[in-house]
Each structure stands twice: as structure tokens, then as C-alpha cells.
Symmetry: C2
Subunit: 308 residues, 2 copies
């Protein structure tokens, strides 16, 4: 029997404009990217989410084909799917949100089917801390690992609720600016120390094209991002990272710092695939054989020999 | 007999303000940092530079004590030493130049003493390309390696002269924005490819707190910066990096990609020392035993195990 990964997060339609193209309505959402990224590993995954009546059944089928359990995806009649529209600057690092239509998300009350309430690993995708708490409360047993992804919006407006979630999780994944905002500390080393005090034993600080840092008290690991000659669309990079990270840990259930490092590299590899194409295209057409090459590239990129 | 490193660059007095302190007049300049950083290695180093009558003889003595040959440092009577004043933002990444007084630099015509004209390695610190060319032209033989550090100012105003220098060097060290400016390419992978075509076989792209990338055609190495809990003053980080890089390569004279990687790590280690104190304080009081610990920290920071 395989280990179980429960993913709580959004499913969405996105309109995206980057210097390399424009799409009006493609499949998106944190849970989608996390699910498609995590399903590359040997595990049983399930998604808790909500979509509207407009949601294309081919997209549900796509997840099913990838062996992702969608029995926890609620379809709300008479309403529309969460919609996000954004535009990237020419440097691809600056993103402007053009439109956010919450639609079905507005009143989303997550219900986890009974059969999915005992996962080994829970991945909370970026979403309202209210919903994240409600999901955690439905679990029958404390999972071996709970991973949280969140963002500045929840820090701005729902800080006390967010703090309740942060207290309950083992790993938090946020970006540089968010780590600084959460703690008021500019140094990421000091920020990570303060975040440890809020609850999470592991702190991941994502730095986009500069990679990611993993902190576990006095231990630090730095994973570079793979330098790519072409980045088409950064959307979903963080979620793909989370999916690869969570997927690898669900498969191995080894939470030593050494294995956490490997998980960060798998996450970084998945993110590097995602940004090479628009939306979920890379993840959908991903072939496992390309993973070995990419891991090899990460190894070559970081290995050096020095006697000391 | 030890291998010889010839350093061409500025010596200066700096006034620096960071969120952690303020100094009115401390020893600075690219050649100073490069020299103090490189002299930690087993080599014979010499500096070609110029200072004014105001230059404190204790500072000349300081370099001499570090076994740096200063016979190529011209002292101009009746003029003042190059002065730079700058202020750092609270994030330490944004720097504003408050004042630049070129003084003796304005009419600097570098004269390399005959005994110093056959170095194995030449390190051209950030300086006018005109002066860099004049220095190269005085060499008796083509050095095993010429390394160039430069900046956006010279790209803006002296591009064709700069291109002449770039064509003659083996390694160029610039920051992200400069790599993009030099090539018009946003992707650093593509920027490095174009820079290779301009001449340098090795391209180092410095990313400050995010580390540095080393490119050699299709090979890439990513060195992180050591995450530090306290950065007091980033001044001289790039020069200290260059000094460590050049110093290690002068000592070893091995220009394989593997050894270049090690040189980048040594450079990064020296930079990490420099930023922990104001000005050259860390380099002056540096102890070799601390190097081993720092290299160990770099190794731990980057090592991961994955089977593929």
C-alpha cells in the first residue's frame, strides 16, 4: 500500500500574459499544480478543492488519469470556478494581478471524505487560513507531516488566523519578502529563527530564480534554481515546488534533514519543468526519464571539491 | 618560488553609511580589497595603483606587512586620494553613491615596474578600461590568466574601450544587471553565451546575497552566498570575491572547470568574511583557521544526496 498525500488548495482558471505569450483561460490553481507535480512520485494523492459548474470535465478526467483522487473536489452548481488573471513584466519576476474572481471560493467549506482523513502527509496549498484550519480539524489522526504554503495577502489581513495554522504545521514554504514580512527581520537567517518559534520545525524560503533555502534550526541548505535559457511562464512554480517536495516526502516518509534536502531538490526540479511552458503543460506531458537528467544537472551545478 | 599575481586597481578612502553604522574615512578601493583577500593564499602579489599625498603611510605599511608588493603604487604629491562616499538602504542591497572625488585617479597613468611585468595571473579591478588596457600592454608575456572586474558605468560611457579589454581577458566578473546590460539578454544563461562570444572563456555573474554563477560554455556552477545573520557593510564584497578567486587560482595555476569552481567558493568565502565587518576590518584581522570552518559551511550548505 502506498503512502497517502492529501492536498488542500484551489483549482482555477487562469488568464496569463508573459513577454512570450498570452492565454485567456487555462487550467490553474495551487492544488492542480501540487497534484500534477506530486503524482510523479509513488503515492496515493487526493485533492480537496472546489470548482464551479463551468469547470471542464476533461480537466477532472486529466487529474483522474494521473491517479489523483478527486472525490473531495466539490462542484458547485450555478457558480463559476475561481478565476485569476495576471501579467508578468519582461523580467518575469514582477507580477501584476489584473483580476481575481473568487466565485466558488467565496463560501468554500472544505469537506474531506471519510476515506481521505488519515493521510501520512498533508499539503496545504496557498488559501485562506480559515479553510486550512477547517481541513486540519477534520483529520482523524495527526499526519506524519503537515506542510503549509501561504502568501503575503493572508499575513496582511488574516494574521491571527494564519498564526493558528502556522502553529500546527511542520514545514512552512514562503518567499523571501513574506519571510521578512512575517517576522520583521531582514536577515533570512534571523527570520527563519523567529519562524521556528512560531511552530514550524522546517522553514523553506523560496527565492524564485535564485533557488530556495531550507532551515532546520542551525542547519541550512541552499538549493539553486536551475539556470534556464527560456522561462515562458513562472505561474505555478512555487506550487510545483511544493508538490515535488511533498510528493517525495510522502513516498519516502523520511523527515531527516538529509532527506528534506533531497525533497527540496526534487521540488526545484519540478518547478524548473513548470516554468519552461505555459500553465500546467510541462507537468501534464512530463516524462519520468527527464527527471534523472534534471537531477544530474542540479548535482553538476552545485558540486565542488575542496580539501579543508 | 611562488606564482605571481598582479593586481591593477584603485586604492581609496571611503565614507560609508549602513543601517548598522557610519564611518567617515576608512581604507577602501578595489585593489586594496583584492590584495588583502588574495594575500591569504600562497603567492607573490603586487598592486599597481595610485594614491595622493594624504594617503596614510600606515596603510601602505599594512599592505607591506601582508607581503603585498607596493612598488607599483604611485604617490602623487599635492593631490588627494580617490574618495568615495555611499549609503546603503536598510536591505543593504540598494546603494546610493553620495560623492565621488576622482582626485589622483583623474590623470592616472599606470606604470608597471619592470620586475612585475611577468605575472602568472593578472587581476584587473574595476577601473577605467583605458587604464586596464595600458596595464595589459606593459606585460612582457601573456599571463596564464587575466581576470576582469568591471561595472555598468564603463558600459554606459566607454563601451568600445571596454570591449577591447573584454576581448583580451579569460575571465570576466560582473553582476546580474551588468550581464544583462552588456548583452541585452535577460536570461543569464543566454547572457553568458553572448559574453563568451566577446572573448572571455569564463563568465562569473555575481548575485550578491544570492551567490554567484560560473559559466564555461555549456558548464554551469552555482555557488550560494553563505546566509549570514549579520551583514554590517557590503562594501568590497565583490572585490574580496575577486581576490579570493584570483588568489586561489594563482596559487594552484589549474584552470580546469573543477578548479575554477573551487576558486569561486574561496572567493565567496572571502566575500562572506568582508561583509561581516566594516571596510577591510575582517580581511585585516582574518585568521586562516576560520577559513576551514567557512569552507565546511559552504559544503554543508550545498551538499545533497540523490540517486538517479
Amino acid at each position: 500500500m502506498k503512502n497517502k498525500l492529501l492536498i488542500v488548495g484551489t483549482m482555477a482558471y487562469d488568464a496569463i500574459e508573459t513577454p512570450f505569450g498570452k492565454v485567456d483561460k487555462i487550467l490553474g490553481g495551487a492544488a492542480t499544480y501540487i497534484g500534477l507535480s506530486a503524482c510523479q512520485f509513488s503515492l496515493d494523492s487526493a485533492v480537496i478543492s472546489v470548482v464551479g459548474e463551468d469547470f471542464d470535465m476533461q480537466h477532472i478526467q486529466l487529474l483522474k488519469d494521473k491517479k489523483i483522487d478527486v472525490s473531495g473536489v466539490e462542484i458547485v452548481k450555478g457558480q463559476e470556478t475561481f478565476f485569476w488573471s495576471g501579467k508578468y513584466d519582461k523580467d518575469l519576476n514582477t507580477r501584476t494581478t489584473l483580476e481575481t474572481r473568487l466565485n466558488v471560493l467565496e463560501n468554500f467549506n472544505p469537506i474531506i471524505p471519510s476515506s481521505l482523513r488519515s493521510p501520512e502527509v498533508v499539503m496545504l496549498g496557498n488559501l485562506s487560513p480559515e479553510i486550512q484550519i477547517k481541513a486540519i480539524e477534520q483529520l482523524k489522526i495527526r499526519p506524519n507531516l503537515i506542510i503549509l504554503d501561504t502568501m503575503n495577502f493572508w499575513m496582511d489581513h488574516y494574521r491571527s488566523k494564519l498564526d493558528q495554522v502556522i502553529e500546527k504545521v511542520d514545514v512552512i514554504s514562503i518567499n523571501e519578502e513574506e519571510a521578512r514580512q512575517l517576522t520583521g527581520e531582514y536577515s533570512l537567517v534571523n527570520a527563519a529563527k523567529l519562524i521556528h518559534q512560531l511552530g514550524p520545525k522546517y522553514v523553506i524560503i523560496k527565492k524564485g530564480e535564485h533557488g530556495a533555502l531550507l532551515f532546520h534550526h542551525n542547519e541550512i541548505f541552499s538549493a539553486p534554481a536551475l539556470p534556464l535559457d527560456k522561462v515562458l511562464d513562472p505561474t505555478g512554480a512555487g506550487d510545483s515546488f511544493a508538490g515535488g517536495f511533498a510528493g517525495y516526502l510522502t513516498q519516502t516518509l523520511d523527515f531527516s534533514f538529509n532527506n528534506m534536502k533531497s525533497a527540496v531538490v526534487y521540488g526545484s526540479a519540478m518547478a524548473s519543468f513548470t516554468v519552461e511552458k505555459f500553465g500546467t503543460d510541462s507537468l501534464i506531458n512530463y516524462s519520468y526519464s527527464s527527471m534523472a537528467n534534471r537531477l544530474k544537472a542540479f548535482k553538476e551545478l552545485t558540486t565542488f571539491e575542496i580539501d579543508f
